[in-house]
Amino acid sequence: MGSFIVRRLLQMIPVVLLVTIGVFLLLHLTGDPINLLMGNGEALDPEQVALLKQEYGLDHPLINQYFMWLGRTVTGDLGRSNKTQRPVIDELKDRLPVTLELGLFAWLFSIIIAIPAGIVSAVKRGSWLDVSATIITIGGLAVPGFWLGTMLILLFAVQLRWLPPFGFVSVFSNPIEGIKSLALPVISLGVSAAALNMRQIRSSMLEVLVQDYIRTARAKGLRERSVIWVHALKNAGLPVITLMGMQIGRLAGGAVVIENVFAIPGMGRLMVTSILASDFPVVQACVLIIALAVLFSNLITDIIYGYLDPRIRLS
């Protein structure tokens, strides 16, 4: 197991470097990095430009600039917001936990909905339960999360007045208000992940339920409940775990929009307000952090998969 983890970590190094190169090159795409860094589009005279280029190290060859940028990034220096003049890392410190909380609950929501629904769908295949679960899955995959959010606001906040239409209270500081403020965003963000999970659980359960060892388990007189929850789920769960890990990226992308629907002060909202304010250093840092978070969650998923399935770590 140890060597498997080491191997996976080594495999990840080039990918992480490529990701950083991609994020670094964003700044140079237009050929006018000073304009992006200053973010005001003002005409600067050549002397000022030269001075700024020196200050940001833009007079060095591109490859040197990359390593200088990488060195600063590794030590947590992500530049300075040109709007607030605060270090970008400080801007992110307040925002990251909010996005993590939203993402975590959306992820849990998708699992809590999907596992029982997927199992019931597979076990009672063709029943009205299965049919309605499938219809909900199909809908969940096609509905834009942010539009679902809008419709939920319309129903629960505007019409029924049960829940606040926007704002954010952390569940960890005030559980009741927190749940109220997060309910709608979590559903809007988690619904497509829940649909994907359910579909995967249903199909892998259907595959497992016809296996010989399930027949054996039934033949030796096990209760149906333990056949399904212990024997079948354990084996059907492997592909689902991969899928759940892969969804971190999808959720991170979705959170950007959902935070803007519900005015949640997380990283996604920061990203969009920064673009509108031409605050490029902040946008760049957010893109980097999201990509690294996705890579990290893929790594964890692979390690868990390798732990659960020896065939993977030995291949």
Binding site: L29, W147, T150, G253
Partner: protein, 295 residues
């Protein structure tokens, strides 16, 4: 003699297979439904000027009118006709999704073919770049690029297109790796076929089915991403009507004019649903082994 026979039989065989597949597709009710919706929306996009009751950008004093006989789906804050704007909005949705998938296919297919056929370090380099691209959620790539390049129709297409490349490249590579192990490839090599001939005669045609399926499902995802960008104010800029920017414009008046938010959202939902149905059905018909690959 033999070659002559082969060249005359081959096209007919392909043609027949096409009709067999089409017949099979038409037996799947959801595929017919999906395909019908796509056709209707394509029709709306092409003939928008003829079927729209009003100019989509024409403002009037009748603002925020609920649906009525004069404006079937009501008017927005500037008195513009919602039905006309929704009809025109289909153009951007279709252009962006088609353009984005074309970028994915045009760049992803050759990359997948090269990676799958070369193995070794070329394969390694290409696939690690694809892994790195996959680390960026499509919306995040799009936001990053739009932040730098600005939001224009072309930039939105490029941004969403880039995120399609790794999915296509991976599928083609997997297919190439599988096909090259088949005995008939060895046979082809042994009668002196060049690598290029093997790639274009055998590996590429074998990759087409999964690429078509992935492209159809990818179009659905592209439509969702484009709508999200539009909603965030980072998509194709107004006054060009897109379903995303219509929803953005409608959001502040949600409590007074809900229909403004409902109509474009339903349009997105229907088109995405249609592409998903069509993609799933194509997968069942063209390549049943691929079940469950949908991202």
């Amino acid at each position: 003699m033999v070659t002559e026979e082969l060249t005359t039989i081959k096209p007919r065989h392909h043609e027949r297979q096409f009709w067999i597949n089409t017949k099979r597709l038409l037996k799947i009710p959801l595929a017919v439904f999906g395909f019908a919706i796509i056709l209707i929306i394509v029709f709306c996009a092409i003939f928008a000027p003829l079927i729209s009751p009003y100019n989509p950008n024409a403002q009037s004093k009748n603002y925020l009118q609920p649906p009525s006989a004069t404006n079937l789906l009501g008017t927005d804050q500037l008195g513009r006709d919602v039905l006309s704007r929704t009809i025109y909005g289909s153009r951007v949705a279709l252009i962006v999704s088609l353009g984005a998938i074309s970028i994915g296919v045009v760049i992803g297919v050759p990359l997948g073919l090269i990676a799958g056929n070369s193995r070794g370090w070329i394969d390694e380099v290409i696939m690690r770049i694809m892994d790195a691209l996959l680390a960026f959620p499509s919306l995040v790539i799009a936001i990053g690029l739009v932040a730098v390049l600005g939001s224009t129709l072309l930039n939105v297409i490029i941004a969403i297109g880039i995120s399609n490349i790794p999915f296509i490249a991976r599928i083609v590579r997997a297919q190439a790796l599988q096909v090259r192990e088949q005995p008939y490839i060895m046979a082809s090599h042994s009668i002196g076929s060049s690598s290029w001939r093997v790639i274009f005669r055998h590996i590429l045609p074998n990759s087409m089915a999964p690429v078509i399926v992935q492209s159809t499902l990818g179009m659905a995802y592209a439509i969702l991403t484009e709508a999200a960008l539009g909603f965030l104010g980072l998509g194709v800029p107004p006054p060009t009507p897109t379903w995303g920017n219509m929803l953005q414009f409608a959001f502040p008046v949600l409590d007074r004019a809900a229909y403004l938010s409902i109509v474009p959202g339903l349009a997105i939902f229907l088109l995405v649903l249609a592409f998903n149905f069509t993609g799933d059905a194509l997968r069942d018909v063209l390549d049943p082994r691929l079940r469950g690959l949908f991202r």
